[in-house]
Symmetry: C2
Subunit: 108 residues, 2 copies
Amino acid sequence: MSPEPDVFAALADPTRRLILTRLAEGEATVNELAEPFPVSLPAISRHLKVLERAGLIVRSQEAQWRPSRLQAEPLDEAVAWMQSRKRTWDARMDRLEAHLRPKGDRHE
Amino acid sequence: MSPEPDVFAALADPTRRLILTRLAEGEATVNELAEPFPVSLPAISRHLKVLERAGLIVRSQEAQWRPSRLQAEPLDEAVAWMQSRKRTWDARMDRLEAHLRPKGDRHE
């Protein structure tokens, strides 16, 4: 399983990571999301567009203020991708360690 | 715990993700890493620099061909960051679901 490339790019920005942290606690409007940041509303809107393209949030079409909501699936895929590499690496390290470990009853 | 911002930026490129996938199976030289890709050695070297800056690989200083090796810790931190958001979100969804679930013995 390969995650959407856009997911990691979206997570590469600290403001976008903070927006996701906020949205993990519940949906929020652009104004609410912009509140803690010393950046303009259009800048926050641009960040939301990046998160939306990456599938990490959805924005309601209904209300004029279009609240944003987290979508957890892309995070799951990205985590699965990283954990799979990690497992391959750990398995390799275990084999290497077993190979290097001195053993009285083992000569190769 | 907050992961290095550079980790997600490093993971945002598909060639760099394939390089990491290869390195999870064992260390490799620039030439070995470049082999499956239709890109130049300097391009691969630039990708390795990005991965190195993000702490995702270390390159040996000893040999002339400087083999690259995966470093798993930044992956762990990035996974922890994403899982923490996911847990907050899941907990919120559970509360919402509990709240919306019709209950004969419950009126709010």
